[in-house]
């Protein structure tokens, strides 16, 4: 195969574009897709301080690399999840990338800062370890962005992620989630603006970019991800893509063009108030993160559980156990 741009030997095939690219042109093609995404959704400007959520994986490191090359003011944030050697290696890789690029990496350790790690959350009766992980990441990234006066949080969500998420939300008709699945969530009331600059790129493209740029990233899968719903949706989308190249892009990018307006909701009707425990914005008395944390640590949100207060704890279990994470109690 020949590179579509320069006719040199191709090393990456992008079937949905019916094209292939050489090792010199492909990183430029990827960078242009990111530039296009930033421009179309007005994600951030040169003067903005960008906080990139870094996991040590291919997507977040590729994103960080691209944004640094484009000259943006970008700092990385790594959240230590406490998943044994997997987290240790992820952290080491993120640090190595930062050193090599002369970039700043901030680190938050979930256990040190909040008293629990993800394996603990999984053992304490959670039906979805991945859901608690995602909740923790969103909470900590927002908190760190606020504390550090960052203008925007950038995450490495790619086209495969977005297509699988959209599929799952449509299968369950989670219309509120569908409405919020945009490459840009504006800032409001204690929530920092969030953007997904890689949303036009498939996982194959981000992986190939990272490889061609010589970026070492974590290849091994998270040991806690087995049976993850997201992976099943990705498998389904890839099965369709194999026989109909371009389906994922048509599905998600088509949703952005033609579907999103149909699901748009007016957030002005949503009243946010400070969480009674941490002060972060929430629609209820306590935010989902604080409720999950209290359940994991076996605490009442307004203090430790007295021995003679178990009945109150049982009665208030719905309050401290977020149903959207752990499911309805019996």
């Amino acid at each position: 195969m020949r590179c579509k741009r320069c006719r040199g030997p191709a090393v990456v095939e992008v079937r949905r574009h019916n094209a292939a690219f050489c090792k010199r042109c492909f990183p430029e093609v990827v960078t242009e897709q990111v530039r296009k995404a930033i421009r179309r959704f007005e994600m951030f400007d040169r003067g903005d301080r960008v906080l990139v959520a870094v996991s040590g994986g291919k997507d977040s490191l590729a994103l960080w690399d691209i944004l640094l090359d484009l000259g943006y003011d970008v700092t990385g944030l790594y959240l230590g999840l406490g998943i044994g050697e997997y987290s240790d290696r992820s952290h080491d890789i993120a640090e190595a990338f930062a050193r090599a690029r002369g970039a700043e990496l901030r680190v938050v350790d979930l256990a040190e800062a909040y008293g629990f790690d993800i394996p603990t959350a999984g053992r304490r009766g959670s039906r979805s370890t991945c859901a608690v992980c995602g909740l923790s990441k969103r909470y900590v990234f927002n908190a760190a962005a606020l504390d550090g006066n960052f203008d925007v949080i950038a995450t490495g969500h790619n086209l495969d992620d977005e297509a699988a998420t959209l599929l799952g939300n449509i299968l369950r008709w989670n219309t509120e989630y569908i409405a919020r699945q945009t490459p840009l969530l504006p800032a409001r009331d204690g929530f920092v603006k969030k953007v997904k600059p890689l949303h036009r790129l498939s996982e194959l493209e981000t992986a190939a970019y990272a490889f061609l740029r010589g970026i070492e990233y974590v290849v091994e899968e998270c040991p806690l991800v087995a049976g993850n719903t997201q992976l099943r949706y990705k498998d389904a989308m890839n099965a369709i893509e194999a026989t109909s190249p371009g389906t994922k892009a048509q599905f998600f990018l088509g949703y952005l063009d033609r579907g999103m307006p149909l699901f748009a909701q007016n957030d002005d009707d949503v009243v946010l108030q400070p969480c009674g425990s941490c002060g972060h914005p929430t629609t209820g008395r306590f935010c989902a993160f604080c409720r999950a944390r209290a359940q994991i640590l076996g605490r009442r949100l307004d203090g430790p559980i007295p021995d003679d207060d178990r009945e109150v704890v049982r009665a208030s279990s719905d309050e401290v156990m977020p149903a959207e994470i752990y499911g309805r109690t019996a």
Binding site: C130, Y177, A207, A208, V219, E220, V225, N228, Q230, L231
Partner: protein, 68 residues
């Protein structure tokens, strides 16, 4: 030809001298879900692999937080 597969990590010996897409078909692997690295260089499924080549087949699909 030695083939290294990842996630889980394992090695297999397969005959070379054919297009990489045939190797992927034999292993039951969708070519759009992996990087194929021949002797340290990225290649496409249309390229050929020799009998003495070393191939790494690296999955690109990652799990993630269940945001649905």
């Amino acid at each position: 030809m030695r083939v290294t597969l990842r996630n889980p990590d394992r090695e297999v010996d397969l005959p070379g001298g054919r297009p990489i897409r045939e190797v992927l078909d034999e292993l039951g692997i969708d070519g759009d879900t992996v990087l194929v690295i021949r002797d340290g260089e990225l290649v496409t499924r249309h390229d050929h692999v020799g009998h003495d080549d070393v191939l790494e087949i690296r999955p690109v699909i990652s799990g993630g937080a269940d945001e649905v």
